[in-house]
Every structure is written in C-alpha cells, then in structure tokens.
Amino acid sequence: MTEDVAIMIKEKTKLSAAGVNLWFGNKHVLKNVGVSFSEKKVTALIGPSGCGKSTLLRCFNRMHDLAPDVRIEGKLALEKQDLYDRAISVTQVRKRIGMVFQKANPFPKSIYENINYGLKINDVPAGERQGIIENALKESFLWDEVKDDLKKPATRLSGGQQQRLCIARTVALRPEVILMDEPCSALDPISTSKVEELIEKLREQYTIVIVTHNMQQAQRVADSTIFMYLGEVVEAGNTSDIFNNPQKELTANYVRGHFG
C-alpha cells in the first residue's frame, strides 16, 4: 500500500507521515505507513489491538525517543517541518503537538499547578498565567466544577474530571495539534460523553487525532477515519464512507464487528 492515501485534497494538510517504518527490537510494528491529517479536523485511527495505531500516534510527538530499542524510518512532518530533523527541538515539537493519554495522568500537584506547570516551564509570563488557566479550565468544561477549590490535589478528582484536566493542561499551551490516545477507554459513559462534547468544541481551533477502540465514538466525533491492521494502513477516507461504504473487504469485516 504505497500509494498516497491523502484523499482530502481540498483541505490543508497539517500533520503527515510518509513511508514510516518502526521496529521494537526485531519486531516490525509499523509497515510503510502513509497518512495525513487535515487542519482543524478530527481524524480517528481505528483498528484491532496491536495494529500499531497508538504506536503511530506516539511517533508524532516523539514519545518513542526515550524508549530503548526503537528504530524509526520515514518522514513525519508538521506542515513542512520534518519532526525528526536533527536541528529541531523535541521539546518544541511536544509543545506544538500536545497529547492526551489513555489513562488520565495528572501531576501529583494541585489542580492549579497542573496547568500552571506547563506555562511556567514554557516561559509564559507570570502575569498572564492566571487568565490562561481560568480560560483553559472553562474550555475544558471543568471550571464550574473546580473553581472554588483550585488548590485541591488533582488526584482527588474523579476519573472523568482528571481526563478533562489533562486536556485543559494541553490546551493551555495552545498547541497546533492534539493527539488523543484512547482518551475515554477508562471512563464511564457520562464522562465519555462530556469528553466527546469537549472534542466537538475543540475542533474549531485544533487539529485532533484520536485513537479509539469504540467505533460509535469514531462515527460520532471524527470527520475522517483511518483503519489500520497489523501495522499497515488499510483504508482512509471520510468517516461515513469508511463505515457505510468501505472499499476493502478487511475494513468491512472490522467495522461490522466480525473481528477485533
């Protein structure tokens, strides 16, 4: 599958991967992957466990850098910028491409400090932080629930609140892209719908890539969907096409729940 799968010609490509191969030791995990994500759209990455969708996601903000024994080939780019250019700062990459993880991972600090920390290390002037924090919490629909108790340890929030705090922490830094790695897999249905509502709102400003196991969720939130299987991209296209009119047999079997 070497042909270019970027079919959204009308839209501006924000984030892309071309000819990406990745090995964990001797295990070939991503095989010649080419994908692109349009600006200010939500793209879902779906596929059975172990298909490499989370691995691909983590390539974009260079989360594999610290892991031993990982080898990456190919080109990953944010607009025209090569993300693995030797001259580029990985810290800067991660600030521009934010990430929300599978399990909410707030810092063991207060709610306020959870957001303030990123601002502090990224050199945001102290005078501006208060406003940014308030705004980020509002954007994440968390403000009303926590505004009276910003000093409370973040670990005492509920699971859904913690995940929204992690999103607030990310948006406070005004990234260009937000990567979400199964953000709702540990949440109950009510928290899940709140996070989805939040994604709905964030799409106005951010390019969002979301890995999900939940096919209903992909259909609810994503403009485009990419189906991966055994480390390869099988099919990419509009979400409705992928689910209602898949071109490949494998895709059809997966979205109809025959495996995975």
Binding site: M63, L66, R94, F101, F107, P108, Y117, I121
Partner: protein, 281 residues
C-alpha cells in the same frame, strides 16, 4: 484423642517459635533499659569522660557518631541518588546496565569489615588522609551507597511511565520531568531508604575500626582530619578492652542504651515517613 489434640500442639509450636524470636528483642531491650537507666542522666550525655573513662559522660562519642553519620550522608546521599537516577532514568536497558544493577545489589551483601579494609587501603593510606573522621565517613558512605541506590531505584521504579510522559507531553525536558515530577513523587520512598540506611551506618563498628575511630580523644572531636569517638566503638571498648571492665559496666550499659535509642529514633522516623505516605495514597 490425638487427632483432637494435635492442632493445638502444632499451633503452640509455631507460637513458641514466634515467642522465642520476640523474647530476644524483649531481653535486649529489657536488659539495656533496666541496667542502663540508672546511668542515663543529663550529665552522662553532656559531660566529657573523666578518670580514665571510669567516670563522667560520653558527649564526645555522641557528637562523634552524629558528625560521622552526617559525613556519611553527605557522601552517600547525593552519589547514591544520582547513580540511581542514572540507572533508572538515563541508562539504556541492556545487559551492561543489568550487570551493574546486579553488582550493586550484591555489594550490599559484602561484609562491612571488607569496606573497612578498602577504606584503610584507599582513603587512610592510598590518599593519605590518615585515620580521620573524613576517611571513616567516606568508608561508611561507600558501605551505604548500595543500599541507597537500591532503595532509590525501587522508589523510582514505582513511578509509572505515564507520569513521566505527562511532563514530556507538555514540552518539559527530561531533566525537568525528573526534577519536577519524578523525584517529588518518589521522595517518601527515597527518604525512607536514606534514613534506614543512615540508622544502619550509625550503628556500624567494623568499617571504622581502622579508618578513624579512637577510644579517647582529648579535646573536641569535631574536625574532619582528626580521629574521633563513636558510640558503637565506645561500647565495644568499654565492654571488652577496658582495664577495669567490671567497674565500667554501668557506663557500658548507659552507652548501649544511648546507641540503641539513637538507632531506634532513626528507624521510627523512617517508619513514620512510610506510614504517612501509605495513608496519602
């Protein structure tokens, strides 16, 4: 009949084992407290020894042990935590790192007297420090290193990868993630290990035997380049080497009691940190 009786006998056998083990602790504490109590006084812990150690107090031994423990901490804590951070956060996970980790674990089983020999060969003679507080502190520091490295690594390993990723994900450098997130989260575990290790070091005798401890020092024992007195060695000398052993037995009991109080206080501090932390989770 036997069938009904045997579970009771069996239960008593195990209870007897446990009771015997506990009785060791009780006997040690009871004997030291009962016989040492009468010696213990404000004068005993604040006065200098007089009349060939048969009268007076043990102040220089107390200050010597405290200073020695501080020197040990200054050597072992930064090096030990630094080494553990290197092994757990920076070192590649390969056979070399595993070999180093295994060696460090085995070094904590090396008899303490061998550290004493090493301190003698390296610090006292090799580096020309002579028998001194600094040579003994460095020796005890080396003895403490493997423990501090192992306990710190254990504390660091308990911090999940997701915590590190959280910091990196918002654009923190690796150092910032270690300084601001990883180390603060691991701090209670690290502190517990450090305090327990120091309590062990404070009670050690063999490694300081030939590296700096002395039975009697005239004047202050506070200087790094001088020999010093220490509680464990003082107890050893009073109970085995003094010319009038029976006469100084009360002093020996008093010294033993003070030593064990110091060690237990450090242990209680460690238990407290651990207890408080386990309640916060």
């Amino acid at each position: 009949m036997m069938k009904k009786l045997s579970p009771v006998i069996e239960w008593f056998t195990l209870l007897f084992c446990t009771g015997t083990v506990l009785s060791f602790l009780v006997v040690i504490l009871y004997d030291l407290v009962v016989k040492g109590w009468s010696t213990l006084s404000w004068r005993f812990i604040t006065a200098l020894p007089t009349q060939g150690m048969t009268r007076g107090g043990i102040l220089p031994a107390i200050t010597g042990t405290i200073t020695l423990t501080l020197v040990t901490a200054l050597v072992a804590v930064p090096l030990g935590i630094g080494c553990a951070v290197y092994l757990n956060e920076y070192a590649p996970d390969n056979w070399m790192t595993r070999l180093i980790r295994g060696s460090i674990r085995n070094l904590s089983g090396v008899p303490s007297i061998i550290y004493g020999l090493f301190g003698l060969a390296l610090f006292v003679q090799g580096m020309g420090m002579g028998t001194s507080m600094i040579a003994a502190g460095l020796t005890l520091g080396l003895l403490s290193l493997p423990y501090i490295i192992s306990t710190t690594e254990e504390a660091l390993r308990r911090i999940p990868a997701s915590t590190r990723e959280a910091a990196l994900g918002i654009g923190a450098t690796q150092f910032e993630s270690i300084r601001d997130v990883v180390l603060p989260s691991a701090l209670p575990g690290i502190l517990t290990g450090v305090v327990l290790t120091l309590s062990r070091a404070a009670g050690e005798t063999a490694p300081i035997l030939f590296t700096g401890v002395a039975f009697y020092i005239t004047g202050s024992s506070g200087f790094l380049n001088q020999e010093f007195m220490a509680l464990p060695y003082h107890l050893y000398m009073l109970s085995t080497q003094h010319q009038s052993i029976e006469e100084v037995r009360p002093l020996a009991y008093g010294t033993a009691l003070v030593l064990i109080i110091v060690v237990f206080l450090l242990n209680l501090t460690a238990f407290y940190i651990r207890y408080k932390h386990s309640n916060n989770d």
